[in-house]
Amino acid sequence: MVPISWYLIFAAALFCIGLFGVLSRRNAVAILLGVELMLNAVNINLAAFWRYGNVTQMAGQVFAIIVFAVAAAEVAVGLALVISVYRRRNTVVADDIDMMKW
């Protein structure tokens, strides 16, 4: 059997790859891609703790499903914001979206 540490380290690596994408990308859509990677890493942790804990307690899977719903909502609103900004400012570069900066 695979020890739980493999899953946790794998999820941590995926999370850090997503973190790098969020911090370093210029395109706002690419930043959202990084956020998706981070959410997936969290979901792997939830599923792993469900499997390695008490299998009859479904809390881990229920939380993973909540994360799926939140990710879908976040992508819908995030991409709508990106497209709205693109229409008004003609840019998707996160550094140029500075209307609220003074």
Binding site: M1, V2, P3, I4, S5, W6, Y7, F10, A12, L14, F15, C16, I17, G18, L19, F20, G21, V22, L23, S24, R25, R26, N27, V29, A30, L33, E36, L37, N40, I44, W50, R51, Y52, V55, T56, M58, Q61, V62, A64, I65, I66, F68, A69, V70, A71, A72, A73, V75, A76, V77, L79, A80, V82, I83, S84, Y86, R87, V92, V93, A94
Partner: protein, 175 residues
């Protein structure tokens, strides 16, 4: 090594490699397609964890809906940054440093945890995880309240996304 471990290592390496390609590749369409590969890898990891429902939801919701939404958004905003110019900001080295430090910190924290090398308990024979999950999501003693809150959140996000992306001038003057 057991077959389980070999399968896990192959899947993990492929997933991490395509995840890395998501954040470094210049062409955003390719990044979205690498994201699809990463999500497939994560779905296989769910299958290895006996979470079959999560694997199906991963394929249907993430690959079927979210990845396609990303490809649509990239195509709608593609005129701006084709493949020319830098795709990373000038502080990318700081982001890379922070990511490596975060991974190191997590690794260090996990090393100190006593349950680190524990293996999974045997999967109970005859245990139906999907019907258990359905019961947990709909029973008042389970998680029916978070389930309903999630549905309210989805409706609010739908209305909000339509409102944000709606352009009142688009009907009259085409830009």
């Amino acid at each position: 090594m057991t077959p389980d471990q070999i399968v896990f290592i192959i899947v993990a390496l492929v997933t991490l490699g395509s995840g890395f390609m998501v954040v470094v590749t210049r062409n955003l369409i390719h990044a979205a397609l690498w994201l699809v590969a990463t999500l497939f890898g994560v779905a296989i990891v769910y299958t290895l964890l006996n979470a079959s429902f999560l694997a199906v939801v991963q394929v249907v919701v993430y690959i079927g809906a979210i990845a396609i939404l990303f490809i649509f958004a990239v195509m709608l905003t593609r005129k701006d940054m084709r493949d020319s110019g830098p795709q990373h900001n000038k502080n990318w080295w700081f982001g890379a440093l922070l990511a490596v430090l975060t991974f190191g910190g997590l690794f260090f924290l996990l090393q100190g945890w006593s349950g680190m090398s524990s293996t999974a308990p045997a999967y109970p024979s005859g245990f139906d995880a999907i019907s258990e999950l359905g019961n947990a999501l709909t029973s008042p003693t389970g998680y029916v309240l978070p389930f309903e809150v999630a549905s309210v959140l989805l409706v609010a996000a739908l209305v909000g996304a339509v409102y944000v992306a709606f352009n009142p001038r688009s009907g009259k003057s085409e830009k």
